[in-house]
């Protein structure tokens, strides 16, 4: 079933890609092929392959239990928040929180994962900042006294 659904999604995406490619305007100075031919070729191959997947699916993969999906979703959410937080909040705090949260998702032990988060955060900051010379800010910039 998973394969059939994936195949269907791929086919629909291929059609959308094809439609989008055919809408591209070809400027008068273009080469014989133009900007839309190659994308259209790709979408044709993808469409056929998607149909093959719908018609001849493989055995069902081992999907994890619902609780695992929740854990994965939390992990994704943590990473997204981390991506947004890295710049305004400085390196140390978001990294410690994110690393701790990921660690907790792999091995649910509060103390161990908090320690992992804090140690990783400090350790990586020292390596990146002083070993590799990346320009990272340890703390939120509004806390740092130096005017930019």
């Amino acid at each position: 079933m998973s394969d059939r659904i994936t195949g269907l999604i791929v086919s629909v995406l291929a059609l959308a890609f094809f439609a989008s490619a055919s809408q591209l305007e070809t400027p008068f100075f273009a080469d014989p092929l133009g900007p839309s031919a190659f994308p259209m070729l790709i979408s044709a191959v993808a469409f056929v392959s998607g149909c093959v997947m719908v018609l001849r699916p493989d055995a069902e993969p081992n999907w994890p239990a619902l609780s695992t999906f929740v854990r994965l979703l939390i992990a994704v959410l943590v990473l997204v928040l981390y991506a947004y937080g890295l710049k305004p909040l400085g390196f140390l705090l978001p990294t410690a929180l994110a690393a701790g949260a990921i660690s907790y998702q792999i091995r649910p032990a509060v103390l161990a994962s908090s320690l992992t988060g804090i140690c990783l955060s400090v350790f990586l900051f020292v390596i990146f900042k002083y070993g590799l010379g990346l320009s990272l800010f340890a703390l939120p910039r509004w806390l740092m006294a130096t005017p930019a």
């Binding site: 080469d31 092929l33 900007p35 190659f38 191959v45 392959s49 493989d58 988060g117």
Partner: protein, 503 residues
């Protein structure tokens, strides 16, 4: 003697203190990365590339560092295969078949030393093969026009898809996904934007480093979260390390044969190291008189795949450097490195930047001896790395990936894109759609389209031009065969089941 002069040039580059230090550092780092379960050459090299830029290394130095990591990870991969029965990545899988049983019989040290020596033989001979063959192929590559390049890219996708997956349709989808992503951004021939959906962030296209780190490293984190607590690693204790001279001598023919097979498998664009170790093992097993011990700890079953996959690693560098077509996942990552460094691989690389090519080759020769020392007398130190728990390792890998990508552009958009690729990579893995063709598609999509369009300009829109030369026709035939043949061979080429622990 051209070769000697070139080698002299190479060693003059490789023996400068910085380059030498980088090669050694790369070997140590690579062996560690290879030994860590769940981190293999591809994702190891992938997360290090962004960081290597912040070092401010020049092209040769960056390339030497990363290729040493690549070679080191190929060596190190066997450590977790043998001691934990967990391959660090796909090429190391065949080593688990006999390596782990032998380790369980209390001969873990012998297995590690023997496989280290086999890796050395395979990698050293393959590096020499690279040295001899690459300049010749580079000369042939001058004959390649746009039609030939288009056919060559097609061949790479077909063999990679055909061999690397159990389902042709899924492989084709992976390729199309990669090519489709490559189309995003400004069209180089007309200067118009395509498929950006109006987003300014996408005008430059999707950075392949973002895609690579997402698909390889971030996806790995999700896989580990899913499998937590279920990695039933029954470790094997490592006794004192001795040199099993008799086993090494007994497998010398095996090693040479496996090296030859692996090297040729590595040469095929798109086939790579997994095929090398697989074929080496299967040939060894089918040509042996007494097959009964294979899968139960036969020394030949350790020597063959290790020599094979390391030879393939060297072989895969040949098409990558001369034609710009990588032969495996990791060489695809190395190609990404070259492209970011503004080095165009291909025949011109050999004539215009000989110091890069020959410095790399000389460094690889040196790296092999460093790796032999690291992996035979010092293997015990590296085997300690296996004790790093996943709950510390994986968050570390995630944070390194984030900082690496963040240091490239400083925008959170790339980070979000990377997470997206991580989720995609996890889904693909679940659906057994291979991820390497996606990477290759993103890397080569632009080149493939440009060569097709150039061919059409040259021929004024005549399609038959694509089949206009003997080289092009040969490549087309090979491409079709490479895609279709595995359909029929699949029933013969079934990998033996891995050793299972009782209880």
């Amino acid at each position: 003697m051209d070769l000697l002069a070139n080698l002299a040039l190479g060693f003059s580059v490789a023996l400068t203190p910085t380059t030498l230090a980088l090669a050694i550092a790369g070997c140590v780092l690579g062996t560690m990365i290879g030994a860590l379960p769940g981190l293999g050459p591809s994702n190891g090299v992938a997360i290090l590339i962004p960081l290597s830029f912040s070092f401010g290394l020049d092209a040769t130095q960056a390339l030497v560092l990363m290729t040493s990591v690549y070679y080191g990870a190929m060596y190190g991969g066997r450590i977790s295969s043998i001691l934990l029965n967990i391959p660090g990545d796909e090429p190391a899988m065949m080593t688990t078949l006999d390596g782990y049983p032998l380790a369980k019989q209390g001969r873990a040290g012998d297995a590690l030393v023997l496989s280290g020596v086999a890796s050395f033989v395979g990698a050293l001979l393959a590096t020499i093969g690279l040295m001899l063959l690459a300049p010749i192929l580079a000369r042939v590559a001058f004959l390649f026009g746009p039609a030939e390049y288009f056919a060559l890219y097609l061949l790479a996708f077909c063999t990679l898809g055909g061999m690397g997956s159990n389902n042709q349709a899924k492989a084709a989808i992976a390729v199309c996904l990669g090519l489709g992503i490559a189309m995003i951004g400004v069209d180089s021939s007309t200067g118009m934007t395509r498929f950006t959906g109006g987003s300014l962030h996408l005008f430059d296209g999707v950075d392949f480093l973002v895609a690579i780190v997402g698909l390889f490293a971030v996806a790995e984190v999700f896989v580990f979260i899913e499998s937590h607590g279920r990695d039933s690693a029954i470790g094997v204790t490592l006794e004192k390390i001795r040199i099993p001279v008799r086993d090494i001598l007994a497998t010398r023919i095996t090693m040479l044969r496996a090296t030859a097979i692996g090297f040729v498998a590595g040469l095929l664009p798109g086939a790579g190291a997994s095929l090398g170790s697989f074929l080496a093992y299967m040939v060894e097993k089918s040509s042996a008189k007494d097959k009964s011990k294979f899968g139960k700890g036969d020394v030949r079953g350790i020597a063959a795949p290790e020599a094979g996959n390391n030879a393939a690693a060297g072989g895969a560098l040949v098409p990558m450097l001369t034609l710009g077509v990588p032969g495996s996942g990791t060489t695809a990552v190395l190609l990404a490195l070259l492209m970011t460094l503004n080095i165009t691989p291909g025949p011109l690389l050999f004539t215009e930047r000989p110091e890069v090519v020959w410095g790399l080759i000389a460094s690889l020769l040196i790296a092999n001896f460093v790796l032999l020392v690291l992996n035979v007398p010092m293997v015990k130190i590296f085997s300690r790395i296996l004790q790093v728990p996943a709950a510390i390792l994986l968050p570390g890998v995630t944070m390194v990936s984030f900082v690496g990508i963040y240091s490239l552009s400083g925008s959170h958009f790339d980070l979000l894109l990377m997470i997206g690729f991580g989720v995609l990579g996890y889904a693909l893995r679940k659906l057994s759609i291979p991820a390497v063709p996606v990477i290759l598609g993103i890397l080569l999509g632009g080149h493939m389209e440009v060569s097709l369009r150039r061919a059409m300009v040259l021929s004024d829109g005549d399609w038959t031009y694509l089949f206009g030369s003997p080289i092009a026709i040969g490549l087309w035939i090979a491409a079709v065969l490479g895609f279709i043949a595995p359909l029929f061979l699949r029933s013969y080429l079934k990998a033996p089941a891995a050793h299972k622990d009782e209880a």
